[in-house]
Amino acid sequence: MNMHNIWFIMKREFNGYFATPVAYVFIVIFLLLAGFSTFFVGNFFDRGEADLYPFFSMHPWLYILLIPAISMRLWAEERKSGSIELLMTLPVSVFEAVIGKFLAAWAFTGLALILNFPLWITVNYLGSPDNGVIFASFLGSLLMAGGFLAIGACISSTTKNQVIAFVVSVVVSLIFVLAGYGIVLDFFSSWAPRVLVDVISSFSFLTHYDAISKGVIDMRDMLYFVSLIAIWLFANALIVNARKAD
């Protein structure tokens, strides 16, 4: 694993977001939706508490829609334009390329997330929140975004069509979030054995994100997201290797 190669691929990919208006459109829409959901859905003011829970608790739902928009181009575009032949004949391994691209998308998501800092300023102006909790929630949200991105990157490598990559990624992401949602679990718990219900719920983003979004960092939740990212990226590399020339 050559760190230089990962870095160069990441840098190129990251700059690629800004070569077109995509990055700016995405960031503006992300900020608008994040603000809207915090104030209108999460009732930021009515709660009367100095924290950013309304902001962070909405992230799984925001990410379902927005993260696939970042990840859809990662591999589908390379395959469509044929530049994958160029990339894969440079002295770069598949894993370096997969990780570099993933990190670029992750860094971009991190940037979009950081640009929500006016909310943080607002809550500090209005009251005295626990900034440690906010920082922990931020890290948790970023980690979850990585999970969504790894799923999206892997799905992007299965197709040359970015629209297909987007739609399928949204659906798979939705499944991963909904697996922990009350209604879905109730549906299973009425007939399935308890073990199965637990397994389903333990695969959910919601189950693992819930504690993090309140600022509680549990190693098991961290491990869940890290291994989820690793598994999807591993699958991503296998798919790129097998289907690059199709």
């Binding site: 160069f8 190129r12 070569a19 334009s81 044929g82 032949e85 004949t89 440079l90 002295p91 770069v92």
Partner: protein, 315 residues
């Protein structure tokens, strides 16, 4: 003669289709190998296997001593590759694109700046360095791909149809560039433009239906032609038929055919022999005045057709 590319019994099957089926050849330093064949013959597939993009079904590829299966990174590091259609990152500028390639190729600092500047100059793209690649014309896009391939001064250069879609001036420039680099590199160029065989190549491999049909110099390729060493003669004041009858009575003549201009005939020698001198003496000793006489080298398009279409193929 240092062997730079060694290919042995290379094959790639896509299900039932044998795109490449047992290809063996090698290329040394200083050689420009013209890889000929009709579309779909397996040229691009072979190149993709040499560059490590496709995994062979069987056979081995060694580039500068490295096996592409066991040490793909070393193989890729020693090759400059221009894929078919010269794909690039369309939203980058040639400058950013070449810098990225230089980074990944391990060039740093002053060395990197020199390599980018020199490749841009050789490919003649210095004045479009800051325009997005997607806004460039087809010719310039091809040259950006070329600059990318030669950037790290690789010992092995593999180019898939480098002159496809270029105008005659651009083709000339690309050929000149390739000839300039030929001396200290091993180069493979695929093409179906037969004039390039003479313009660039020191050797040809002709492939059809995944198999090698010919491996030799351009001159040897021409010698396979029916027209090789055929002599076209016209004689003043003598009927074509009388001339043909006379010529056909000579020992080394296999046959004749009339030319559709200036009353001349084309004379085919037996076994591709050189018969010009003897022929002109005999005609003159007959008291005839030769108006024009020239020897044909052979027709590549005819050889190409013969070698790449099997008897029975509709063509």
């Amino acid at each position: 003669m240092t062997l730079r590319i060694e290919i042995e019994d290379l094959a790639k099957h896509f299900g039932e289709i044998k795109a490449v089926d047992g290809v063996t050849f090698s290329v040394s330093k200083g050689e420009v190998l013209g890889f000929l064949g009709p579309n779909g013959a397996g040229k691009s597939t072979t190149m993709k296997m040499i560059t490590g993009f496709l995994t062979p079904t069987r056979g081995t590829v060694r580039v500068c001593g490295h096996d592409v299966l066991t040490d793909p990174i070393s193989v890729k590091a020693s090759i400059g590759y221009l894929p078919e259609g010269a794909p690039a990152y369309a939203d980058m500028t040639p400058e950013g694109f070449l810098k990225f390639i230089a980074d990944v190729r391990g060039l740093r600092g002053a060395e990197k700046r020199r390599a980018v500047a020199s490749a841009a100059e050789k490919a003649r793209i210095t004045h479009v360095m800051f325009q997005p690649i997607e806004t460039l014309s087809k010719g310039y896009k091809r040259r950006v791909g070329l600059a990318q391939a030669i950037l790290h001064n690789p010992p092995v250069l593999i180019m898939d149809e480098p002159t496809d879609g270029l105008d005659p001036n651009q083709k000339y420039e690309v050929r000149t560039l390739i000839n300039e680099m030929a001396e200290d590199k091993a180069i493979i160029i695929s093409t179906h433009i037969l004039e390039e065989v003479h313009a660039m190549c020191s050797r040809n491999v002709l492939i059809a239906n995944g198999k090698i049909e010919f491996d030799g110099t351009p001159q040897e390729l021409e010698a396979l032609s029916r027209y090789h060493n055929a002599v076209c003669v016209s004689v003043g004041g003598v009927e074509t038929e009388a001339l043909s009858r006379f010529v056909e009575s000579l020992d080394d003549v296999a046959g004749t055919e009339p030319l559709n201009f200036n009353n001349g005939i084309r004379i085919f020698p037996k076994d591709g022999k050189q018969i010009t001198l003897e022929l002109s003496e005999r005609i003159r000793s007959n008291g005839w005045q030769i108006e024009s006489l020239y020897v044909e080298n052979g027709r590549l398009d005819e050889v190409f057709r013969t070698l790449t279409t099997r008897p029975g193929d509709a063509a």
